[in-house]
Symmetry: C2
Subunit: 323 residues, 2 copies
């Protein structure tokens, strides 16, 4: 939870006015997102989220994220729609921060995801992948394969402080991933962070996707592997085959995986577990215990990684594999 930057009523009133959104009626800092400051804004023309981008976000990436949301929205993917100001701009500055208004999306994210949620998530992800095929801008995945080793180098010397044996585990796994990472899979824009708190539902029906601030170009099936890590493990770290099967089935309802993608899936899932293990490991050692933002335990992803290491095909995830 986080509101880092305060904005005054007068400043926000003027800002709302510059978008032609009518009169400012109320605004509340909301305890959501760990990277940016977010306000829920009621104006006479509707309800919006104002995001003030904090230091961890590269301003040069913002046109990509905002352009992507607009592109997806226009193609029927329910997501927040960036609002253009009177001059036509979606990105501005206020309270000393880069800032954007997006439309407010109703929905609640499921604290206890079920297979019914997972199948909808799979479908929505595939629709997003298809809808972004003609999105021209590109963004490199800084947290993809080539980013993992440099990130590990930043804390590898202290990694066994997190868990004895972690250094060896990660070093060996990075070797495997770097040597065997699949090439030539279908690529496109991936969400790259489609965790339950980024998917809204109203009465079991998916109402929208949010938080595209990790979106980038990468293998589409890698996005599915991230979601499988995020949605299909229980709090005791066991893989829930019913949810996993539902997620993948939902995805394939809209966009069937290629044979290469199916064959590569266990390795993609290992890579996805590694990506979150590494960022959580780094944050674990570098986030003060007293910070506003709760640290997330890297161990969750050690356990996931071990599961994926034992998998040899999609059959191990509960899916039929053509003989």
């Amino acid at each position: 939870m986080a509101v880092y930057t305060e904005i005054s009523d007068e400043e926000l009133s003027r800002f709302v006015e510059s978008y032609g959104l009518g009169q400012l009626l109320s605004y509340k800092g909301i305890a959501e997102g760990v990277e940016n400051s977010n306000y829920l804004v009621h104006a006479s023309s509707g309800t919006f989220i104002l995001t003030l981008y904090e230091k961890r976000v590269d301003p040069d990436d913002l046109p990509f994220f905002l352009g992507l949301m607009e592109h997806l929205f226009q193609r029927g993917v329910t997501c927040p729609l960036p609002v253009h100001d009177r001059q036509g701009k979606v990105l501005n500055k206020v309270a000393g921060r880069h800032a954007a208004f997006v439309t407010f999306l109703e929905g609640v994210w499921p604290r206890k995801p079920t297979a019914e949620h997972a199948v909808e998530v799979g479908r929505a992800m595939a629709r997003m992948h298809l809808a972004s095929q003609d999105f021209a801008p590109k963004r490199h995945n800084a947290l993809g394969l080539t980013g993992w080793r440099p990130l590990f180098d930043k804390f590898s010397a202290r990694s066994d402080d997190i868990m004895p044996g972690l250094h060896k585990l990660v070093s060996n796994e990075l070797d495997v991933l770097e040597q065997n990472w699949p090439r030539g899979l279908p690529e496109g824009v991936i969400h790259a962070d489609l965790f339950p708190d980024n998917v809204f539902f109203i009465a079991k029906k998916l109402s929208g996707l949010i938080d595209f601030y990790f979106a980038c170009n990468d293998a589409l099936a890698y996005d599915l592997a991230i979601a499988l890590n995020a949605w299909c493990f229980e709090s005791d770290f066991s893989y829930n085959v019913t949810k996993g099967r539902a997620l993948i089935k939902g995805y394939e309802d809209v966009r069937p995986l290629t044979n290469d993608e199916r064959a590569a899936f266990p390795l993609l899932a290992r890579g996805a577990a590694m990506r979150f293990l590494l960022t959580r490991g780094y944050d674990w050692l570098n986030t003060p215990k007293t910070a506003l933002v709760a640290r997330k335990d890297p161990f969750d992803y050690v356990r996931r990684l071990r599961f994926h290491q034992s998998a040899t095909s999609l059959a191990d995830y509960g899916c039929e594999v053509a003989g």
Copy 2:
């Protein structure tokens, strides 16, 4: 800012249903209030605030606060209206906490209060005082005259750590207040915490009062003295006579002060400064620097207290005093 207690989507859906509010559409923890957890809830029937009462609030006081809000609302004082559940109750339990729904009040609180704001605040306070005259329940002011010495005793030994000389200043002032505190002034229900962040405006028009969780029975003019401390000093601690005059005038537009109240005002203002000096002083020494809630500097109220000590009549606050 604070969201201390998490509530799950399923739990909240059931809770919303038990109030007949329709379908839960969204909920966001909001960074407001330092005592309780607050969620802004969109349901199909409207927008509400869900408050989960945390440890610092005495559950026995909740019927007073909620009953007062309902009483005031019904008499035309714009404030959040507690919602009755299907059984007619306004107070329930959820997520392990006492909890209540109130209607959401549009408006923004003024970061830079002006005399125009102050006059409206004075009027709204006086209307609240009149509207609560027939509110039967009573609540003792634990932070009134009799509460100050015991509160100071809790940190007096360390009070000079806050500011050299603070111990002597407070001890002497408490002697004066205890010996001279005015008796027999008109009493009633006071808000007791009507700071700018508890008064909402839309386009310079007051849209409502919130946060009645310090409300209690005490001298009405003492409430005005609290508001004067809260609204009419600049960030350099100087008294702004234009705002002070506007606040008192606004109050008297609706409820003229009695001669006794006018005569007692400087002492009431000293008491009000003392009350905030003491709670801030205690919190200063007892809130970890790393806490989610920012500590407020007790020094602000030392400076206000010194101003009030120099005042001898309402004339010193910019008001005409009958010769």
